[in-house]
Symmetry: C2
């Protein structure tokens, strides 16, 4: 197998790993050079600046996932429609240098509503296949918490459907720009009991548009302190995300992929609801890109 | 009856009306001098600047409702707990000049959840009683759309319970500060068909945290134009507010109180759902303060 240069180029960061012939990570790098910092036409130059040395290996193969393949990125790699697995992703690679460097497309899923409302992901598909590989599973529900959380169904090693939730972005907007922000002190650690109270509140009847206002009044009436309120806000929003799921359907553990801080919150909430789960970190990206290269016999 | 100086001093505006002895509006004024523009200790001076001439009538009575009675306002007028009608409001007036000038308190309602989560309003209570007076009703469900929409139950002329929804604020955050903002053109008129499609979507299963992401993808896939997307966003959020209500319970018309632009949207949505409703404008404030003064025999 040829040496793989695995790149995850997202909105706010640029990460890369040089993998050995059996997939082991030989070296990794991370830079605050997300696609939003790169002027149009400069992607190749920025890539060479940070990873040019790795590409000097004559038989190197480079696969790039994430927002680099979006309309605002290096080149637009059209979405690969679901259901999609390694075969479909491999068919939809956008080759920047034939046989040597490609953008991995994101996935799209069209809803059954009157507007066929689309849902999309870019970069998560690679983490999903990596996490499945690591867990040795071909069927799973996966959750990728974050700015735009993804809930994903995989059947027989193909993503069959998924849904995006703006949970992380709404948390940021509420704590930074809304009237609630005045009540919050974001410097404290999570208060697990308060977080779970908010999870329970969201799972009951009512609307999150109403529950959110409680963050203001619980502060105003001193029921919760300024350092407890972010835990309450976080619990309300994650609880609202969980409310929309059929959690009774899961006998196999859910697979969570993301930072330790975020997957810990989801694990707390899911354990509270007696739903089994297990977590994977960002290394799923490298496993996923390696598995994609292997299964498409690119290397 | 003494001449009434009716003042509504809110977060972003200061409105006043001079009423005749039978409640007719003789003169009204409005200034962009909401409480957020007034330094602590300066409320009396600002009031005198704009309404001092009206107060020269020796037998004038002045009632001030709204955020002027909040902790950030002129003085804090503690919330009057529900159930509350004119009698309870009259008991909780905070007199700035005994018998001559008073702050009308807001209302509070304590939830039955473990934290007794409070809900609060300031200023709306006066509009509610004014609208009931104008409609000649003592029992009603009222909706006050806005930054923080209120759904209010009134039984036998007393507010028995109410809920706040952050609908307007979330619309502003989403259109101004979120990733969705990039897709929206806010300069168009409402597209009623698109607005109602979004109402229907929110009333179905799922979560508003998911539905919101559609505003991005419907733009990305050119299913809706940039000028249509604000109607979709508005419909999703108002639909989420409606989803939390038991609309089947209403045989008498709902009473909407607010600006023409906002009550028109709620009227569209409610007619679509075959729920009868009628609208009242900001003049409900003057009627409400006059009715409060009369019924408490203040004048």
């Amino acid at each position: 197998m040829r040496p793989l240069i695995a790149i995850d180029w997202g909105t706010s960061s640029l990460r890369g790993a040089r993998l050995g012939r059996t997939g082991q990570v030989l070296e990794s790098r991370e830079f605050a050079r997300g696609i939003l910092t790169v002027p149009p036409g400069q992607f190749e130059a920025v890539f060479k600046e940070y990873f040019g040395d790795w590409m000097q290996a004559p038989d190197a193969l480079c696969l790039i996932s994430g927002m680099a393949g979006s309309r605002q990125g290096w080149q637009e790699a059209p979405y690969c429609p679901c259901p999609a697995g390694f075969f479909e992703l491999g068919q939809h690679l956008l080759w920047l240098q034939p046989g040597r460097m490609a953008l991995v497309p994101g996935l799209s899923y069209m809803g059954a509503d009157p507007l066929n409302t689309p849902d999309v992901m870019r970069g998560e598909e690679v983490q999903i296949f990596g996490a499945l590989q690591m867990a040795g599973r071909k069927n799973a529900t996966l959750v990728l918490p974050g700015t735009h959380s993804k809930w994903v169904q995989v059947q027989d090693a193909r993503v069959t459907q998924f849904q995006t939730f703006m949970t992380g972005e709404v948390f940021a907007l509420m704590s930074q720009h809304s009237i609630l922000g005045k009540s919050l002190d974001l410097n404290g650690a999570i208060d697990e009991a308060v977080f779970l109270q908010a999870i329970d509140r969201s799972l009951q009847a009512g609307s999150v548009l109403h529950h959110l206002f409680a963050v203001r009044t619980l502060g105003l009436f001193e029921r919760l302190s300024a350092t407890q309120l972010p835990s309450y806000l976080s619990g309300l929003l994650i609880g609202e995300e969980l409310r929309a799921q059929d959690l009774s359907a899961h006998s196999d553990p859910l697979i969570l992929i993301g930072s330790e801080a975020l997957t810990r919150r989801y694990t707390l909430a899911l354990q509270h609801l007696k739903v089994p789960c297990q977590s994977r970190g960002a290394e799923a990206t490298w496993t996923g890109l390696y598995a994609l290269a292997s299964s498409c016999e690119l290397s």
